[in-house]
Symmetry: C2
Subunit: 210 residues, 2 copies
């Protein structure tokens, strides 16, 4: 019996999953999540969801939090925003201060959980609660500011949507254009201490001689 | 009096620590930082500081924040607590639900910066502002609960202290014992969503047969 139970991981029967995956593969349905080190698209041009089990281990750029109780109970994004980037893209950013073509930024939302702990009152990570992704892809998005496109894989508990179409400009890009701007490659690096510091180093290195 | 009080953070006089760091620099001692994938000690048994350029790219477990303005202006830790672990130790934790011998947990403090952005009111990452480290080392700490020891490399802007002696039990361990406890290996995984989820999966897998 112990042996049998060891097949069950997180409520999912692994043996059955393997079988289902084989069936789906046979049926030609591709439901697998993307490793998303580079963007991966469906045949009809939607972005495949990056796999949370992978991107949660990428470099985490920052974690702003805009809780409901600071926004009259109705924050636009009442969660922690955990923003991740793949190591290869981070390495390029550290060299150049801009995101390279092919960058995938995964912003996972995490509900506020506890608000009181031994360390004091504040905000502590609760449940995962949504996934937004920004992709810089010059081939796919030749017309958008710096080739970014923005995707929403649901603002709710996982599992997230397996694929998503790019959002209309008004939903994401207009805010990135107005509030992050071209100087920061349309990303909110001003709220990401390691990215801010990396960019300042690139700038200092490339400053003209006095 | 306010000025004097601002030096005292978590029972440690930061001014004195900064002075010690300056003295070491003046003495021309090259205190290289540790990669800290495993703990590294000085000849006299102090822990060498993990290198922020390295640990900031490890797996980030979570980011609680306990701001001053939620704690009558005087939070014990008024910063974001960015907690990182090396990938090898994280891989072991995912398998077993406990931290392996040799784990180094780096908790970097990040001041609250902006409190208002286009996404709403809240807390956004400001400047780096301190480093605490927990090390599980059965050889070095055979007598402590689960072999953990706790180190403080300054609660102030970098550069952090290059080395630190283990903190007395009352400063760190007693709180971890009382508020994290043996069930969570004396670490605050209840505030780290990915660690909480990983541990739940291990637990489900090892549940006794019905």
């Amino acid at each position: 019996m112990r042996r049998f139970n060891s097949w069950i991981v997180g409520g999912v029967v692994v043996g059955a999953l393997a079988g289902a995956a084989a069936l789906m593969a046979a049926a030609g349905e591709q439901m697998s999540l993307a490793d998303a080190t580079k963007p991966q698209y469906t045949a009809d041009g939607k972005l495949k969801s990056p796999d949370p089990a992978i991107f949660r281990e990428w470099v985490q750029l920052g974690t702003p939090v805009t809780p409901n109780d600071q926004n009259n109970g109705v924050a636009a994004f009442p969660e922690f925003h955990n923003t991740y980037v793949a190591p290869w893209a981070w390495a390029e950013f550290k060299k150049n201060g801009v995101w390279p073509d092919g960058t995938v930024l995964a912003k996972e939302l995490v509900l506020v959980g506890e608000k009181q702990a031994s360390s004091g009152k504040g905000y502590f990570g609760g449940e995962f609660h949504g996934l937004d992704v920004a992709v810089k892809d010059s081939k796919k998005n030749p017309e958008t500011p710096n080739n970014w496109a923005y995707y929403n894989f649901n603002h709710a508990a996982p599992p997230y949507a397996p694929e998503a179409a790019a959002q209309p400009k008004a939903n994401c890009s207009s805010c990135h254009e107005a509030n992050a701007g071209p100087a920061d490659d349309y990303t909110f690096i001003k709220y990401y201490p390691i990215a801010r510091e990396a960019k300042a180093k690139v700038k200092a290195k490339s400053a003209p001689a006095k």
